[in-house]
């Protein structure tokens, strides 16, 4: 590859990764292509409205992949809320207060969605124009397994039983997460949908286990 081509490619890649917003400010009306922290107008320092076209990955400024780095995600989230939290806008004008409330709630939703493996998967599937089907499932072998697991959790009485089930189930979800990552990487949406429905059932079991742990007052 020639150096020129390399530079051109590099530049092109950068244009995609460094996401910069270009718009005119709602407050002072000036065009601005160099927002401060990607949020504030560089002329009048007013907080800009959230961009409706941006997906949750863009809003938080993390790479769009199923294997998000959770520490990075948390850091980006906290950094953003430092600027956006409505408490910081108590003395600003009404319009800016509204924007901050709206923006900060979108950031909350984005963080919650991307942090949780199941919600993240469903969201990424939706970004690709697909949903988990609503129709009832007839994969009998799998359903029998799920039914049995649910019954096991229901019948578990000792602390050891519940802890053991919790461990197994968490490992199951982790394993599905790995498989999902590969399926997303391969762009195999059919497999993604299947894995996500599996994950949905195991997450339901997880909720049931967590309730049992709470009800029994088990301290971990």
């Amino acid at each position: 590859m020639s150096i020129g081509r390399f530079v051109w490619n590099f530049g092109r890649q950068n244009r995609f990764t460094i996401h910069q917003r270009y718009r005119s400010c709602w407050s002072c009306g000036k065009n601005d292509n160099n927002l401060i922290s990607n949020l504030f107008c560089s002329h009048c320092k007013a907080l800009q409205k959230p961009d409706k076209a941006e997906n949750y990955f863009c809003i938080l400024g993390v790479k769009e992949t199923y294997d998000v780095d959770e520490t990075d995600l948390a850091k980006k989230y906290k950094d953003l809320q430092k600027y956006l939290h409505p408490d910081k806008y108590a003395n600003r004008d009404q319009k800016e207060q509204e924007i901050s409330a709206q923006y900060s709630s979108i950031v909350n939703d984005a963080y919650k969605t991307l942090l949780e493996p199941l919600a993240r998967g469903i969201y990424m599937l939706r970004l690709r124009g697909k949903e988990i089907p609503e129709n009832t499932e007839a994969d009998q072998e799998f359903l029998v397994k799920i039914m049995e697991k649910n019954e096991e959790v229901e019948e578990a009485s000792t602390e050891e039983d519940i802890i053991k089930l919790n461990k197994e189930n968490k490992a199951m979800i982790k394993d599905l997460q790995k498989k999902l990552s590969t399926a997303f990487f391969d762009g195999d949406l059919k497999r993604v949908t299947k894995l996500l429905t599996y994950m949905k059932y195991y997450t339901s079991i997880d909720t049931q286990i967590e309730t049992a742990i709470r009800n029994k007052g088990i301290i971990r």
């Binding site: 359903l143 039914m147 339901s204």
Partner: protein, 155 residues
């Protein structure tokens, strides 16, 4: 005065009634809560019994699983029904109601049971309609399992 009093009474009652409705739209209908708190026919029947049909269905969108079983006598009448559901209150109520309804019906009558009837009885909101759908599919699956068992028995 005699005319006025009932009117005042009506007026006050109407007020309290609308207040009640406002609360109910925000939560489950009384019928759902009744079936959720006192579910009818929870349990299992012997899966291997020739006169028992088992339906096992799941809703991929919400992760609910439902098992519904029917026991049919030699005249084709459903004499017992049991269910086990792991899911939300609406799914539990739907399957509980479904077992109540199919009991005493013939196999053909039970096939005509529609999810819309269940949804109507329980006043399910649109987002919970799929729960009643799950119950209908569970009945259908149980009936078809019973039919298959009977046919293989004859052959």
């Amino acid at each position: 005065m005699a005319f006025l009093l009932p009117n005042i009474y009506k007026c006050l009652c109407f007020r309290s009634q609308t207040g009640l409705n406002a609360v109910q739209t925000a939560s489950y209908h009384a019928n759902v809560i009744d079936h959720y708190e006192n579910p009818r026919n929870v349990g299992s029947l012997d899966k291997k019994d020739k006169s028992v049909g088992t339906g096992l269905v799941g809703a991929p969108a919400c992760g609910d699983v439902m098992k519904l079983q029917i026991k049919v006598d030699e005249n084709g009448k459903i004499i017992d029904a049991k269910f086990k559901t792991f899911g939300c209150g609406s799914a539990i109520a739907s399957s509980s109601l479904a077992t109540e309804w199919v009991k005493g019906k013939t196999v053909d009558e039970a096939l005509k049971l529609k999810n819309t009837d269940i949804a109507k009885e329980l006043s399910l909101p649109p987002v919970k309609l799929h729960c009643s759908m799950l119950a209908e599919d569970a009945i259908k699956a149980a009936l078809s399992d019973y039919r298959i068992k009977q046919q293989t028995d004859k052959n």
